[in-house]
Symmetry: C2
Subunit: 325 residues, 2 copies
Amino acid sequence: MKNRIVALAGGVGGAKMADGLARAADPEDLTVIVNTGDDFEHLGLHICPDLDTVCYTLAGIANPETGWGLRDETWNAMASLVKLGGPDWFQLGDRDLGTHLQRTQLLKEGVPLSEITRRFCNVWGVRVEVLPMSDDPVSTWVLTETGELPFQEYFVHQRCEPRVSGFRIAGLESARPAPGVLERLEEAELIVICPSNPWVSIFPILEVPGIKKALGAVQAAGALILTVTPIIGGTAVKGPAAKMYTELGIRPSAFAVAAHYCRVLGAGRVAGFVLDEVDAAQAAQIQSLGIQTHISKTLMLSAEDRVRLAREILEFGKRIRRNRN
Amino acid sequence: MKNRIVALAGGVGGAKMADGLARAADPEDLTVIVNTGDDFEHLGLHICPDLDTVCYTLAGIANPETGWGLRDETWNAMASLVKLGGPDWFQLGDRDLGTHLQRTQLLKEGVPLSEITRRFCNVWGVRVEVLPMSDDPVSTWVLTETGELPFQEYFVHQRCEPRVSGFRIAGLESARPAPGVLERLEEAELIVICPSNPWVSIFPILEVPGIKKALGAVQAAGALILTVTPIIGGTAVKGPAAKMYTELGIRPSAFAVAAHYCRVLGAGRVAGFVLDEVDAAQAAQIQSLGIQTHISKTLMLSAEDRVRLAREILEFGKRIRRNRN
């Protein structure tokens, strides 16, 4: 019986959405496939910003103010490092450092990232299955007016300031989806593309060889692909998504995101799109792409918002199915 | 004018002695040459236990209870790491981790350990010159009944439990003294062998090619080599020195240490030996080795103890010189 929900997620927005889905559905039915294109080496540590944000959020140990990092965090290692001349542009909390140190060690010992994530989730009490998109190194590069930048260099160090002209996902030629990714997609009845950055959070996942094809196959076999807008009123809730659309010559909007996924996944693949009530006027335009729409309050400020939005998405999926039959 | 004091030091005992000398003399006149045979790689970090203990102590930021590590330390990274299955046998405080992360990074960038130490000491406000014995990797191995163990494995992980049959200092064939080491020895009027473990703290320093020869030359030219006992009443103040003597078939005593340095450095090299008042009866026996003695309270429990003992050592040196003339 296919009853699996698979969410594709990047960082903060994706993590909140995944958390809502885990609370609205049976967490055992949910698999979250997470972008690892943001992963990078820093101070000799292998850091997986999106994976950690998703896991920390699902574990209920994320910092509620920042959305990333751990709650009740201390910053003593960082303070000591910076005093000694170390880099201060990427914040690493003390507890968070424990995660990076142990993950880096296990990777050196040859344990795959997906297995490490499984072990860590067990310790953290995460009941949802969290899978990195790939165990192989895949890295997102941002093409800018000042040259090609590794994602974290663009995103954190240069605070998304350079003007973007495109993206390059490196490492794809030898990357395979992590164990379980294709299997979970095959078992899915519902695939939720979370309100994450379409360019740098979702695109790298879709580019991993085999994933887009699996999505197409499972969609053709009856699974629904639903998308939640990361753009509200022309701006991104968090991060540079809107800025990227603008710099690439596209007016940022819910419609632009819907059109984007139509282009990337192929016309007819996306069954439904959840847009914010402030963008209600764009519903008809999105429907003209052959995508059904649901209008909601998409901003997730509280845990209740996450669950409510997740319930609406699940309901939206059922409604689409009912209308089909 | 030769007026430099050079101290050879290992960890806690050496650090306290160096600190006393820095307070009793002009810190600008003091150079501490520190054992790096204990250095090891742990969790991908390059850790220099003795160097850090000496620097932290001289900076006045050492943990007064343990002797090693930093005061006002937190342990959140470690707690998080251990929860995730990481090793718990080597304690790494959060602030201390900042040191290891930045040092490891700089080493990877090709900055020599001596230069890193100089930079860190500047930040920490250490006015004494602290030199690692070598910038090259030299590592102390402990030969035991259960096989050859890297020093920290023996010392921390196995809590000095395996029976010792000898030592091996690896890497000597390609190791050179760190820049400044030979120059400072040449400028020395007084060389203090701190109350550190003769086998695993001082021996590795003396084995670095060139150091023993430089000591001999400067001694022959008039410098005094003074030694402070790490053995009081047949036991070591801290660490396995007494246990090592016993397992190697030598009754641990102040005399055994004096005889040890006579053997390692050559008869006549050591001018004076500071022994504890509880071992006063051994003074004549030590003098029979051609070594002058000074009897003192050698246990450094307080900062005042360190300074008092250091002043006595400086005075002891002057006394030996006066008696010569």
